[in-house]
Assembly symmetry: D3
Homo-oligomer: 209 residues x 6
């Protein structure tokens, strides 16, 4: 009574379905606009679907007293093609995630601990939406819009952020403007900032030119 | 020096951009395949982007000793059109989220507290992927595949789950098979379960026929 | 008068358009989240677009007296990237396609011969939609929802089913629960079925553990 | 033991899930780029998912001795948002579906009866792919490319065609060129056809100007 | 010989196809995540598909000596649902389009007249890509990344820019940071700019707080 | 003060973000349904984002007195995955772009110089939308619909056309019908054209059979 069942199995596209069920990214192959090519289903194990790095606090001993620990497709290839990813945000006292955007995804932040003042700026006549968030609150940051998070509490703050893409990207405005070789003259022309201000921040952020 | 700037503002499609930045769902209007129509930008406030219900434990005084508290588009309309949502999972001791699928989204679970034995079954020759997850671990459940979560620890377990759609849907296999008026004869024919077993579970889950 | 035309040809991206027109899958290369890489246009022939296996009845000498003959991307690589696929369903007398889902596609069934009782269960408060279908009737099964087909007529029944993806996937609930090494204890815990019932079906379906 | 279950039900977004499971089109409301707004879930019945018109032969008493009977979203609103549709093709002896395109979908044709010579023309250096198809054969016609079907057998031919969109559209080249008020002079200029030929076909197809 | 043709017409979903061919936006109805509901096909004329405002130079008598004249969905509703839009860029001598992003689209710029120094900053370790563009050159600005355009020539410069969405959005960093009521203290905290600099630019750009 | 910043850099997925920001196509690798695999970010330069061929008039010394100079993904791989492309259209006096479709994209045309009579035919009861366009006018041609452009002025006409895909494809009806080896008998049967007319155009356009 057993073989007949296997028989219908052999009529079903199982060798393929594995790829249709999921597509664990093979980071050794070139990426595509839709994500990485898939690891062979036969080589996929439960370890491709479990990741533990977000359980550990990021190191906040840095200028911004903050750390973002990503679980994006390059850290966690099981997310490849599935349309979402996570990250952990640690904010020491006075920590701040400076103005930034995620060019490739919308974000929802869940406060695990502490108090976070978070906000985003709409491209519509520049309306600002911000609020102090407490443990258990969630807040939305729509794709591509400038937003920030500040530890507005007494102690450390921790959040889990979730994104609508396996590779949301991250562009921190200050690093983009002052942390590279974009000539000071061009920064001044395109931001209206004073030259002295630009040079000062290039100094802090390692920019040249 | 101020008016000239406004002048270029007036050349930009601001009245529309608000809608392009985000589309807070107006649940009073009929849904569409892409989500709900958008609330008028002028009526949108920061409250449309912040939600607090996930900060409170769900009531686990039920048969499965578990509760799912969703922040899907119908609870949190700010997610409309943004391609993601969250939920909180509370598992009392011995709590279980029975075999289920999300027809509309992939899921990533983050363990906030306790120990959870979680797994999913691939449609590919039925390979089972499951593991005990501890605080800080995350696990992927690909779209549409049967999966489950069990509290395998001593105390309560809590998780935040994130989905790749504002309305992932939820189909708990037992409720679908035994919690409605699907005739016992059809359940037996399509599941190979014994009639007594089907009737027993229909009794527990409120099914008829 | 002939060369000048060829001249404008040479200005058009023909070498590429072939790939834009269609992308016959090269199954020897790793899949991607969007499908398989494309076979070289120069090697594509009409045979890549024609498939004959659905003209032959599947073998229904098995436990469920049914056979599904797929024309998914792995059988018919011409479908790669085109967003649809077909399959043939053969149901002997008393044949049944047990409760199952397609994680990756919606389905429309067209009855070629016989009478089929088909239905699906919505994830919404478990509403069941089912009906007896006669020759020429078509029925929709939305993506990811549990559904079934039963030969409810005197003779054989045949249907052509069409899917909204080249790789819809197929997860038959019984095979997923009882046809693998998922420990009996976990099946019991996540389905509320009696242990004896689980062991009985594991015996029938080749499950272990 | 029954109420507690309902309790967890009340925590789940059921009122919405119905819409997420499917979105039966309300044709009385204006369409959107993603399809029609959804009929209220409470008013949806199994009849919204079953359609019988393809069981009846189309009337082939016309110039082309052919009839296309569509089950697109406007005939069968249950398909709204689901990404596929069907149609029935009837070809009397010598019947032909003239050169046409579907601007919005790829197509797969399944021969139910008779013999059909079918083909399409790739936009790539105009390669023609055509073949005689017999009962049970399926053939792919990629989105937007010119294709045709001719009854090349002794008797009638019937096919079921499946599309990758609920509204594939249909543009029959002859009707587009000769069945409207596009001035003869413009048709001649843009097709290189002789004026007499254009006028002759405008006469047959009801064109003016 | 004429009526029979009309007969097959009546079998085709023409009343719907209009909507499937295009979906001219009805801006009086609420937007949706996929765009505006469609204007009734019967009311659509060629005027819905033709727009002339880009033929006129924008007014560059403003602080940035630049003007952007959009043909986005709100100005040109015929683009609704079609996945692209255009805009005209006028740069007087010394004109500049300051650092900005388009949250919803990638951009390609075509130089009609003059010389434009344009560039963007990748979110990848902040690499800057910029170059002087002459008449006839085109340049890509990927979605969501900071970019700028400066008139680097002797005379006026004009460009036509094309976007991959009917509503690309526009967020000019300076206006977002200094042109609204975002408290100076928050701007300082999230940008590392000196308070004096922030206040100075708020003064210029009409910001408060 | 500098190292700490780099430290948080090292926590961010920069090696990947490059690919997420853009995916310059590597045309040496096989295409996929979503586009070409990405060139290694480290090898990408500003030259991958700038293209100059549209600054030069195409050669219109051909039968149609017209030339299309594409900047599609195969000419300009920087467009890969970004959802848009451009082309330049040159029309000598009496030049015409014959009836054609773009199977993969909608189009917007911007008139740079001269006067162009352009139109498209909807698949809806064959409504024709056409108009004479002057310098600065833009016109929409929805995806997959037959359309044409004619130089209706005294001098040359030039246009920049923008598409909603990096590979829109191009199928010129005459070349598809008369420029290949599609047997005359099949052309006659599927177009109702007179055999003499078909043979005449096959002669002009290099068709055989």
């Amino acid at each position: 009574m057993f073989l007949p069942i296997l028989f219908i199995f052999s009529l079903l596209p199982f060798s393929h379905s594995a790829v249709q069920d999921f597509c664990v990214g093979d980071l050794a192959l070139p990426d595509t606009p839709a994500g990485y090519p898939c690891k062979k289903p036969a080589k996929v194990t439960v370890n491709d679907f479990v990741y533990s790095a977000l359980g550990v606090a990021g190191n906040t001993s840095n200028l911004i007293k903050a750390a973002v620990t990503p679980a994006f497709v390059t850290q966690f290839p099981g997310l490849n093609g599935l349309g979402l990813s996570l990250a952990r945000l640690d904010l020491a006292v006075d920590g701040v995630v400076p103005m930034h955007t995620h060019p490739g995804a919308s974000e929802v932040l869940f406060v695990l601990e502490g108090t976070i003042c978070a906000g985003f700026i709409s491209s519509t006549d520049n309306v600002v939406y911000f609020q102090a968030l407490n443990k258990g609150d969630i807040m939305i940051f729509p794709q591509g819009l400038l937003h920030f998070q500040i530890n507005s509490g007494e102690g450390v703050a921790i959040a889990i952020v979730s994104f609508s893409s396996p590779s949301p990207g991250l562009q921190i405005t200050d690093f983009a403007l002052f942390g590279n070789n974009l000539p000071t003259e061009l920064v001044v022309k395109t931001t209206f900032l004073d030259e002295a201000q630009v040079k000062k921040l290039k100094g802090v952020l390692g920019g040249t030119g």
